[in-house]
Subunit: 239 residues, 2 copies
């Protein structure tokens, strides 16, 4: 039985209400993955390796009761976000931006999921900078997962490559591969972090030239959550 988030905060407040709905452990990570596209129960389980199956089951039930998630009628074990769930994108993106700069080095045992990576890139996407650049496809291989990222003007389309994605009527952008508009990179997770931070990063360029790499850096960027420019000499230091 769903654990019922009956423990409210006793406040008539948007933040409190939101946390009552999606504040439980694991809940927003499930939403994050579903923001990339519909997923099956097993996909989510694989994407969230440490989640116990009963918790995943409970959360999916609660998220359905909250109107955030619904089942995909045509697919056994398929789940997708409702409109209300899709509206959580700004929340997840804001969290992703904040947490990204807090990523130190990967801890032993940390995994990198394709969906998580897709959201990172969505959070890093600079629509204004991209608008002036020619259509480009980026293919990223990061720590075992692969993503195809198509930037067409100010629009962004990310599709994980390989198994896990649930086939959907969702069309790719009207993008026809332009010769010389493909950058393919292979890098480690912490190198991607450095790259998005604008720092020098070790990356293996499998296809494309330096100009395309520059284009990538212009298009995708997550600055530090707390810029060092602060008048008061804060004692705290990010570890």
């Amino acid at each position: 039985m769903a654990t019922r988030a009956a423990r409210g905060y006793g406040q008539y407040s948007g933040t409190a209400r939101a946390l009552e709905r999606i504040g439980d452990r694991w809940a927003l990570l499930i939403v994050r993955d579903l923001l990339v596209g519909p997923r099956r129960y097993g996909d989510l389980k694989a994407s969230l390796p440490r989640i116990p199956t009963n918790i995943l089951s409970d959360r999916l039930k609660e998220l359905q009761e909250a109107g955030v998630v619904r089942r995909v009628p045509t697919v056994r074990g398929g789940y997708e976000l409702t409109r209300l769930g899709l509206a959580l994108e700004p929340v997840v993106v804001a969290l992703e931006r904040w947490g990204w700069s807090e990523l130190g080095e990967p801890v032993e045992g940390d995994t990198v999921g394709a969906d998580a990576l897709a959201i990172s890139l969505r959070a890093a996407f600079r629509a204004d900078a991209a608008a002036g650049l020619p259509p480009t496809e980026y293919v990223l291989h990061v720590g075992g997962v692969s993503l195809s990222v198509i930037v067409l003007g100010a629009t962004l389309d990310i599709v994980p490559i390989g198994p896990g994605a649930l086939p959907q009527p969702r069309r790719r952008s009207a993008f026809e591969p332009v010769p010389g508009a493909l950058l393919e990179l292979a890098l480690e997770p912490d190198s991607l972090r450095d790259l998005l931070a604008g720092d020098a990063a070790r990356a293996t360029v499998l296809a494309g030239d330096d100009e395309l790499l520059e284009r990538f850096v212009l298009t995708f960027r997550i600055g530090p959550a707390a810029p060092p420019t602060e008048r008061a000499p804060a004692a705290d230091a990010a570890a």
Copy 2:
């Protein structure tokens, strides 16, 4: 002793890292209140009526360890956000916007806090719409708490009125009260929700005219998180 959020998610992901830092119950509500200004232990306790004192104590310790919160050296029991903590504003604002439209009627026992209200207004603030309007002060009385809200061009300055605020060197905006630029409203929490949603709302106008009320509605607005338009998946647009 701080309970240590050692239970990580095992993912090298911004969202996961963020939730490990500020995903614990009550944590973001504490951050929300501190976003309005430095507060004392007792202020927070009063603002979050249902929080057990040991949990408040634990969370403040954890938030300090996470570099989000620090003590105000000059004030006994005073806490404030660090730069990193201030950087959580987009997260809280996004949550507030999403949760606001999920506020039904107040549940018996729900309280309304001045700080929570201040964040609601910050989330509802339309800088672009406000930029074209003359400087205005709004004084709101909502369910027992009062706020002074000064809009000066595209800037917003909110100060709770009454006890609870910790005196700070923070200056009010360079705002000199203009005669005829003050709207004072008294309303119930659910009426404010309707007002910000753009619906008709029962409000008692204590000072000001209809034109000022119209100005308020233009300046502050939180639309539904899930607009009734289902079909369009809406490519994300930077606001």
